[in-house]
């Protein structure tokens, strides 16, 4: 094979490769259009002064931020309050979930005791029966607890958080225990030899090393809780107590077509918290760290 021939062949290979890249890029472009089209449309609607279909212009005539202003200031829909309720409920739930599961995972990972296996199995198997199916029972529990402690009853955020904590263990403990197992035992052994208590070892030795998994569990729980519609819808009854998932769904009532642009502004703002959190952990999501995170 002469060098000229080789060069020509390489040239055609390059061309082939370039063609290969071109159509791949075209597919990528189509996928991006599919993904972003509704989002762009919603953005365009949200800055439209009138509730209408905009097909031709990305930026409508007389673009305005009024819809955002109305959503943030209209007492008829306490939208900022709903978002705040959601952030509060999801934040507290996620913090408590991380606390409860990291304690349990530490014990499952580091101690050997008689009930360890049955308990680990139970925790996992309970997850098989989703507690949203028991929503009537949950409703009745809060109703009855509320008669004694009104601050824990129906229509309270504390009660809702209590219910969310019922699903805290399960996959989370499992995921976390797996991560704890990868931390070498020599570390805690060294601490014990120095006379440290288990609590000290957990808080000072292990805790700093497992921060990545704690962050992942926190964010996943936050996203999950923020997106819950069923439990929040059943257990909260007052407009002022609603989470944003329940509140925004009010917009799909009969006046929907007049409020379409308002809804759009609200939807974009409501999506923001989880959008940010999601992009913080997207690499962990891909590495399959998160068996419990299902969607679609």
């Amino acid at each position: 094979m002469s060098s000229a021939q080789a060069t020509r062949k390489m040239g055609s290979l390059k061309a082939q490769k370039r063609f290969g890249m071109a159509w791949r890029l075209a597919v990528a472009f189509l996928a991006i259009v599919f993904s972003l089209f509704p989002v762009v449309l919603i953005f365009s609607t949200s800055i439209n002064p009138v509730s209408e279909v905009t097909v031709t212009k990305l930026i409508p005539d007389n673009a305005t931020l009024n819809n955002y202003r109305r959503m943030l200031g209209d007492p008829q829909f306490p939208f900022p309050l709903w978002v705040w309720n959601s952030i509060k409920v999801s934040g507290i739930t996620s913090l408590l979930v991380v606390a409860l599961t990291s304690l349990a995972a530490f014990s499952f990972s580091r101690f050997r005791f008689r009930l360890r296996q049955p308990l680990l199995r139970t925790v996992l198997l309970v997850q098989v029966f989703p507690n949203i199916l028991a929503v009537t029972a949950l409703f009745l529990i809060l109703l009855n607890l509320g008669r004694i402690y009104p601050q824990l009853g129906l229509n309270t955020h504390a009660g809702l958080i209590l219910v969310y904590l019922g699903g805290a263990m399960g996959f989370n403990t499992w995921l976390m225990k797996g991560f704890f197992d990868t931390i070498p035992r020599e570390l805690d052994e060294a601490a014990y030899i120095d006379g440290a208590s288990s609590w000290y070892t957990f808080t000072r030795v292990i805790f700093p090393l497992v921060r990545p998994i704690l962050a992942v569990i926190f964010i996943l729980t936050f996203i999950g809780t923020y997106g819950d519609y069923l439990l929040a819808r059943v257990l909260l009854t007052d407009k002022s107590q609603y989470t944003v998932a329940v509140g925004l769904s009010l917009f799909i009532g009969e006046q929907y077509s007049q409020r379409w642009n308002l809804f759009a502004a609200g939807a974009l703002m409501a999506a923001l918290p989880t959008l940010i959190l999601f992009y913080l952990i997207q690499n962990q999501l891909q590495s399959g760290l998160t068996v419990g995170a299902v969607k679609g």
């Binding site: 990528a28 509704p38 309970v126 028991a134 529990i141 009855n144 035992r185 399959g288």
Partner: protein, 527 residues
């Protein structure tokens, strides 16, 4: 391993109580406080007629007491907090639901038996020889009322709807002023209602009884009131209500006190009815029809949701899994935006886009996105595709990258075509890696209430069914309608029976998945 047993030994080898003095004191105080709280709460619950919940709370308290006082239970102390919530808010509600499925819990049978008896015993009747009075009405704060009663024998007494009673002498002692007709000018916050408003408030007065229960007075006409008697008394021996006026026995029939003539007393209470809810599901044609439609759609919905998102995600992963592709990271970040948006927002956005008036799709082309059974289902699957394919893209990309490249080299040497490589290497290895996630996704979508409920409330409705049911309803949204009423009354027993059907299906799928991934076996090996 050594660490753990050492740690346990170390603590039990020293002091009998283990740990420092302050930690022992702390534990004792915590257990004492928690138990006090649990005992009080449980007691209150029993008073309210909810003994099972009280039992659960006491069980949790017992567990906490044992675990925090016994030294050898130290490892359990770490697990107990999470476990307590799991028992209270997951295991107990699930067991309660199972129990409910075997009862007739429904509208009219909602409150516990003792409470129902109390309510029925509040009913009164007017005996023939009743003491009658002339009355004058007073109104107090918060819609309370009082009567100034003058009996035929000249007895004068003031009775309130809050159950209080004052004789004329009592009032005089309290320095109450009396008007010319002998009635008080005002008693505390109660002031006379002008005569011309008497008829207007009559409907409000009629259901009320005035004064202490044993000598309660009710209004019988615009001018007269009479002392009434308790109408029903519960007889625990016969488990029946006895009408004091007529002597008729109302026996407990399936949670309703019923007379021999079939007259039923309201309210009833839930009782165990055995397999009735399940047999109704299977045999009642009116229930079976929609249930079968709904069940079929639930399976199709969950399966199609996984299939279409997986196929699109995989295709894109195959195309874009090219290390030299320009802007690879950028592409990915933009493509997965739908996955980062909460599902409840995504479905509302698409609902808007399909809207026949304002929707960018619906206003141009509307085959019945919400009104046609078929196209509503298509619409839901389009939403599912949009919000779900980025997840599949992410996990298949991850799995593709983990397939060793030399397998393809070997296949090329053997002269395998691209399609053969895909079918014999990529797909099998990929399915091993993402199979459990696909099954998990199926189980999740089986109960994907948010999408169904927010898209169209399960509609369009299936005509002619005794229970509210829609063509796009899946089992859980149907259950929700049964339990929380679609205007046709709540039937919690039936809803719970369907929940159990879902439990069994989803449970079987998930346990199969655990087996498949060896998750449970891992527990046994990992000692």
């Amino acid at each position: 391993m050594a660490t753990a047993s050492q740690a346990v030994k170390k603590s039990s080898a020293g002091l009998q109580w283990g740990g420092t003095t302050s930690s022992i004191v702390l534990r004792l105080v915590f257990v004492a406080l928690f138990d006090a709280f649990a005992i009080f709460t449980g007691w209150q619950l029993i008073q309210g007629g909810v003994a099972p919940l009280a039992a659960v709370i006491w069980l949790i308290a017992l567990g906490i007491t044992i675990v925090f006082l016994r030294n050898d239970a130290m490892p359990l102390r770490w697990i107990m907090p999470g476990l307590a919530f799991m028992v209270l808010m997951h295991i107990y509600p699930v067991l309660f639901t199972v129990y409910t499925a075997f009862t007739n819990y429904s509208d009219g049978h909602l409150i516990p038996k003792p409470v129902a008896i109390q309510q029925i015993e509040k009913q009164t009747y007017l005996p023939a020889d009743a003491k009658t009075f002339a009355w004058k009405v007073y109104s107090g704060p918060n819609d309370t009322f009082a009567l100034w009663l003058t009996g035929q024998d000249g007895e004068q007494v003031f009775k309130t709807s809050t159950g209080e009673k004052y004789t004329a002498e009592d009032l005089k002692e309290q320095d109450v002023q009396f008007a010319e007709d002998g009635s008080p000018v005002a008693v505390g916050e109660f002031t006379p209602v002008p005569a011309n408003q008497r008829f207007a408030i009559l409907p409000k007065l009629q259901p009320l009884s005035f004064g202490p229960e044993e000598e309660a007075v009710r209004i019988t006409s615009p001018t007269a009131a009479a002392q009434v008697r308790q109408k029903f008394v519960y007889d625990p021996v016969q488990d029946a209500m006895i009408n004091q006026e007529t002597g008729v026995v109302y026996a407990n029939q399936r949670g309703t006190f019923t007379s021999p003539e079939g007259e039923a007393l309201i309210p009833g209470f839930p009782v165990v009815v055995g397999l009735e809810n399940f047999t109704r599901l299977l045999t009642s044609p009116a229930l079976r029809g929609p249930l079968f439609t709904i069940f079929a759609w639930t399976v199709i919905f969950a399966f199609m949701s996984v299939l279409i998102t997986f196929v699109l995600g995989l295709l894109l992963a195959l195309v874009l899994n090219e290390p030299d592709l320009p802007l690879r990271r950028f592409t990915r970040v933009l493509m997965i935006v739908p996955y980062a948006i909460p599902a409840f927002i995504s479905v509302l956005i698409w609902k808007g886009m399909f809207n026949p008036v304002i929707g960018i799709i619906g206003s141009q082309w509307d085959p019945g996105w919400f009104s046609s059974p078929f196209w509503a289902k298509v619409g839901i699957l389009i939403v599912q595709l949009w919000l779900g394919y980025p997840y599949m893209f992410l996990i298949t990309t991850g799995a593709l990258q983990s397939i060793p490249g030399d397998l393809y080299e070997a296949a090329k040497v053997d002269g395998a075509s691209g399609w053969q490589q895909f079918r014999s290497i990529t797909l099998p290895l990929l399915l091993v890696a993402v199979g459990p996630l696909l099954i998990g996704s199926f189980a999740f979508n089986f109960n994907n209430f948010t999408i169904i409920q927010l898209y169209n409330n399960g509609g369009p409705p299936i005509p002619g069914t005794p229970t509210p049911a829609g063509y796009t309803d899946i089992l859980i949204s149907y259950t929700f309608k049964l339990a929380f009423g679609g205007g046709r009354g709540a039937d919690l027993g039936l809803a719970a029976a369907i929940s159990i059907v879902i439990f069994v299906i989803v449970g079987a799928i998930t346990i199969f998945n655990f087996r498949y991934t060896g998750m449970l076996e891992e527990v046994s090996e990992n000692v």
